[in-house]
């Protein structure tokens, strides 16, 4: 890839406890993209971000921001990075506006009340600017943490599980804000364990499990690749058994005979759904409702890893 804004090379981390949280991760982040790091709990997402931001020491490898090493050029590099950590941590007795201004100055930027006001207004915090942190709700605290990360106008923003425990309204606000920031040219790296979130927001997705980056893909390509889906059919009349005419699709009948489920490969050209529905009609089986669900992230990881092993073996 030409000219990545952030380059991670062979990054490894073994904690003192012996946990191997990262196993030689290589990753390039494109300038101006929204990159989602998708993985289950304990995959190493927070560890990766923490190493880049200087909170955790790496056991090996390096990080480059525009070609500059993140340790030897830490001042230049850190000035450009904003971090919203996973945990809500705030100074209980500080008013919102002071804690946000503090962040700006800590990063070496001159005071700029107009800028701080703009940030607080965007995050609908302006009315609460004089409230002390411990009197804010969890969602509001999350907003303040975002404001703090944006206070020094970084051009790379890390959001570690930004929507964990966040209500619908804030989630919507947050996605709007992320899109606006991207329009302004900010590169955004977020972590999540929800496929839907990666799907909704990201330009590219990296899948990480057990400290290994399994694959990095454009979102569209990945979503096609990702996993299996399940079709549920709520039948009008319960069935006693699966009719033999439906056998080619291997559907499962629920115990009460009222739900038929069919598992299909969402990435296949032919999902088998139209033909299944036609067969149902021919059998005179009517249904009152249907829905399809993504299989769980864990299932998908297992699939992906098996797929990789097979490819490696071939």
């Amino acid at each position: 890839m030409s000219d990545p804004i952030l380059s991670i090379r062979g990054l490894r981390k073994a904690y003192a406890s012996g946990t191997e949280a990262l196993k030689a991760v290589d990753l390039d982040i494109r300038r101006g993209e929204i990159f989602a790091l998708l993985g289950p709990n304990g995959a190493g997402k927070t560890t990766l971000i923490s190493i880049v931001c200087g909170l955790v020491t790496a056991s090996g490898g390096e990080v480059l921001v525009d070609g500059k090493n993140w340790q030897t050029h830490y001042r230049e590099v850190r000035r450009r990075i904003g971090l919203v950590p996973q945990e809500l941590t705030t100074d209980a007795f500080e008013p919102v506006i002071s804690t946000v201004s503090f962040s700006r100055e800590l990063f070496g930027k001159p005071r700029d009340p107009a800028k701080i006001e703009e940030i607080l207004r965007t995050l609908t915090l302006w009315d609460k600017r004089k409230t002390i942190m411990k009197e804010l709700s969890g969602g509001m605290k999350r907003r303040v943490m975002i404001a703090k990360a944006l206070a020094h106008e970084p051009d790379i923003l890390f959001l570690d599980e930004p929507t964990a425990g966040v209500d619908v309204e804030l989630r919507k606000d947050m996605w709007n804000m992320v899109r606006r920031l991207r329009e302004q040219g900010v590169t955004i790296i977020l972590t999540t364990h929800y496929i839907e979130e990666a799907e909704e927001m990201a330009d590219r997705v990296g899948v990480i499990a057990k400290g290994e980056l399994i694959l990095v893909e454009d979102k569209a390509a990945l979503m096609q690749k990702l996993g299996r889906k399940i079709l549920h059919l709520q039948l009008v009349e319960p069935l006693a058994a699966v009719p033999s005419a439906l056998a080619p699709w291997q559907p499962q009948l629920s115990e009460d005979g009222a739900t038929l489920t069919y598992e299909f490969d969402a990435k296949a050209d032919r999902t088998g759904i139209p033909s299944l529905l036609a067969a149902l009609r021919d059998e005179g089986i009517t249904f009152k409702d249907l829905d399809t669900k993504q299989s769980s992230l864990e299932d998908i990881f297992v699939d992906l890893i098996q797929q990789q092993r097979q490819e490696a073996a071939e």
Partner: protein
């Protein structure tokens, strides 16, 4: 240098002190007054002079240092321990701040407050006894050196401590006893052997006598020796802090 970052930490800390300004200043004033009533009046009525200095005046430098020790250690250790405890340290660690700059912010603020308290005690002392300072500039510089040293020491304790009770252990179990046994309120010349020789191993003796010399021009140890001992302690603390940031000890996983 990220001066803005240093200044931000400094102001944050000073703001924290301002929230408890009145108790923060009332405590040293009241304790100093109590010391004068107990030591000055009760003991001082029997022991009128030490080395030509009225007893009440004699104890002023020791009283100031006693507070400087506890204030410096407490403010600096609490200042860095709190963000470690709440997790807000993430922001300091991710900021474009060198270790030196971070320490300057925390230690600078803790030292400012300790110096203010020392000066308040000095002023309070005037209400009870006549105090004049023979070498005011040297006194101020020496006080500053001691304050900075103990703030660095406090910073180390704040990093080392695993909980809030551990913050209290060193000041209460080591520093306060050493201060009382280190000739803060008496001359070690008054001790019988072997106690006199044993006392010379107490570092506080050098700090108190160095400071006392700047007041009265006489003390139990030479000013040069006192200065060298203080500088050695300061150097040891600097080394400790350098090591902490180099290894990330209790700061980074």
């Amino acid at each position: 240098m990220n001066w803005r970052g240093i200044w931000a930490i400094y102001r944050f800390e000073m703001h924290r002190f301002r929230r408890t300004l009145w108790t923060g200043l009332a405590v040293p004033v009241i304790t100093t007054s109590l010391y004068f009533i107990v030591f000055g009046s009760a003991i001082g009525s029997r022991m009128t002079e030490i080395g030509g200095v009225p007893y009440g005046s004699f104890i002023v430098p020791g009283l100031m240092l006693l507070s400087v020790f506890t204030e410096s250690i407490f403010n600096a250790s609490f200042g860095i321990h709190m963000p470690r405890f709440t997790g807000t340290i993430y922001e300091i660690l991710s900021a474009p701040m060198s270790a030196f700059e971070t320490v300057l912010g925390y230690v600078g603020a803790a030292a400012s407050k300790a110096m203010i308290v020392a000066l308040v005690i000095f002023a309070t002392a005037h209400l009870f006894v006549p105090v004049s300072v023979l070498h005011p500039l040297l006194a101020l510089l020496f006080l500053l050196l001691v304050t900075l040293t103990f703030c660095m020491f406090g910073f180390i304790i704040g990093i080392w401590a695993k909980g809030f009770e551990q913050l209290q252990v060193i000041p209460l179990l080591v520093v306060t006893p050493l201060t009382f046994l280190g000739g803060s309120f008496y001359s070690i010349e008054m001790l019988a052997e072997p106690w006199r020789t044993i006392t010379l191993f107490n570092p506080v003796v050098y700090l108190v006598n160095g400071f006392r010399w700047t007041f009265f021009g006489t003390a139990d140890v030479a000013f040069g020796t006192a200065l060298a001992a203080t500088a050695a302690f300061a150097g040891a603390c600097l080394l400790g802090i350098w090591w902490i940031f180099r290894t990330g000890y209790r700061l980074k996983a």
